[in-house]
């Protein structure tokens, strides 16, 4: 009995620190960041970074002095990157990373995952608002404005599959959708989910919050060293989790490492192509896009879903 609980606790610790949480997700996040940069570079006819570049960047940042600017709340300034990364990592615990069964599961964990993903963005917004720097302040306004615009379509788009399988638990949705490619039956939801994911990751064309030609680095302008490294790690982890989430819900589930890599990388490819093709949207255009088209499309999807479900009953 005694040894059983200890081994249980050890297992929990392992999944929190090594796999799928912590180390593994961070490594995976950096690798996906590299894949993103490399593919984008190839689309632009450049060579692009070598495989270790994101790792080297993070190493360099971690080794550097962290400068805390004047006029900020010190605890918040140091604490926010940690909370952001933790949030992103926690989200990974409810998802079938690498096709392995989810570590933790309870009814409604999909909502927790989505909330944890938003935590990173909220932390970034707060981090920007915390400093006195004007670029950070404008970046923070834009980050939060954008959050409010894509968040509800994203949520609604991801709840489509949940509605389909009558459960808000990721593992149950997987069991229910196994083999069903919902992107075919719910194309509008898939489209919105993909594009909202790009908005969430602040990738071009939704990179107005960190548009370097306008506001330098947006919210992260004042960050250096460790804080910047943690935020970037958080972004990398968010990329992996977002891709996993969408492929789990819309691409017929993930059951083994092969399908995991195939499906997430396929999604990444789509994201990179869109990044290469589109011009940055101004923040008013982003908001307009989401409220005018994104929400409408996803509501349309729901309408059909409910009709279908109703007729099935």
């Amino acid at each position: 009995m005694e040894s059983n609980t200890i081994s249980n606790e050890l297992r929990s610790l392992f999944s929190l620190v090594v796999f799928p949480g912590g180390c593994f997700l961070i490594l995976l996040g950096l690798s996906y960041e590299w894949a993103d940069r490399k593919l984008l570079a190839r689309f632009q006819n450049r060579i692009g970074p070598r495989w270790f570049q994101p790792f080297a960047d993070i190493m360099k940042l971690l080794a550097k002095e962290e400068i805390v600017p004047e006029g900020v709340d010190r605890r918040l300034f140091i604490g926010l990157p940690i909370v952001a990364l933790t949030g992103a990592l926690t989200a990974g615990l409810y998802l079938p990373i690498l096709g392995v069964k989810t570590t933790f599961s309870f009814p409604g964990d999909l909502i927790v995952t989505l909330y944890m993903l938003s935590l990173l963005t909220l932390c970034m917004g707060l981090a920007g608002a915390n400093t006195l720097d004007r670029f950070s302040l404008i970046g923070a306004t834009r980050t939060l404005t954008q959050l409010f615009s894509y968040e509800s379509p994203f949520l609604l788009a991801l709840l489509g599959p949940a509605l389909f399988s009558n459960s808000w638990q990721v593992s149950e949705i997987i069991a229910h959708t196994d083999g069903h490619w919902l992107m075919l039956t719910q194309p509008l939801g898939f489209l919105v989910a993909m594009i909202a994911l790009m908005g969430k990751l602040e990738l071009p064309p939704f990179d107005a919050p960190e548009a370097e030609t306008e506001i330098v680095a947006g919210v992260l302008t004042e960050y250096s060293g460790r804080g910047l490294a943690l935020f970037r790690l958080g972004k990398g982890v968010e990329l992996v989790i977002g891709l996993t989430l969408v492929s789990t819900l819309y691409l017929g589930g993930i059951t083994n490492p092969l399908t995991f890599f195939l499906k997430t990388l396929a999604l990444l490819l789509i994201i990179v192509v869109l990044q290469a093709l589109l011009t940055r949207l101004r923040i008013d255009q982003t908001v307009g896009l989401w409220w005018r088209y994104g929400s409408l499309l996803v509501l349309l999807q729901w309408f059909f879903l409910i009709l279908l479900q109703g007729s099935a009953i």
């Binding site: 689309f43 006819n45 450049r46 060579i47 692009g48 093709l277």
Partner: protein, 136 residues
């Protein structure tokens, strides 16, 4: 009005190799007229000093050891040089030229930014002299 007008280029990038050159590992052959380091032929020089006069950057010094015996040393400062080739065109004897081989200018030591051209013993004499000047 259409979305994704650059699709063609992006698709073609998949089959084309990247155009970036990885410079230190792959070197392109420099064009014939490339203006690299200034080279000087002591044989033809008559010591008129037109090159020194016309140089907009003061990168050339002509040290006259013995005008009659035509013993000159040309001190050239690549770090000041703007590579405009005015000296090459000013020289009526055609003893100046700009190399299209010797064009990698980065050096790790400042001493690499001063060059002396001329007969070996003349250069040594000038170098000894300049060292003496420095020590004074």
């Amino acid at each position: 009005m259409r979305f994704a007008a650059m699709m063609g280029d992006i698709a073609s990038a998949l089959i084309h190799r990247p155009v970036t050159e990885q410079y230190p590992f792959e070197r392109r052959e420099a064009p014939e007229r490339l203006r690299g380091m200034l080279h000087w032929d002591p044989e033809k020089c008559i010591g008129c000093g037109l090159c020194v006069k016309d140089c907009p950057a003061g990168a050339i010094e002509l040290i006259v050891l013995d005008k009659k015996a035509k013993r000159f040393v040309l001190r050239y400062h690549p770090d000041r040089c703007t590579f405009c080739a005015q000296c090459v065109f000013s020289c009526r004897q055609g003893c100046l030229s700009m190399s299209n081989v010797d064009w990698e200018l980065a050096v790790t030591e400042r001493s690499g930014l001063i060059r002396h051209y001329g007969e070996k013993k003349d250069v040594e004499e000038v170098l000894a002299g300049s060292l003496k000047q420095d020590s004074v």
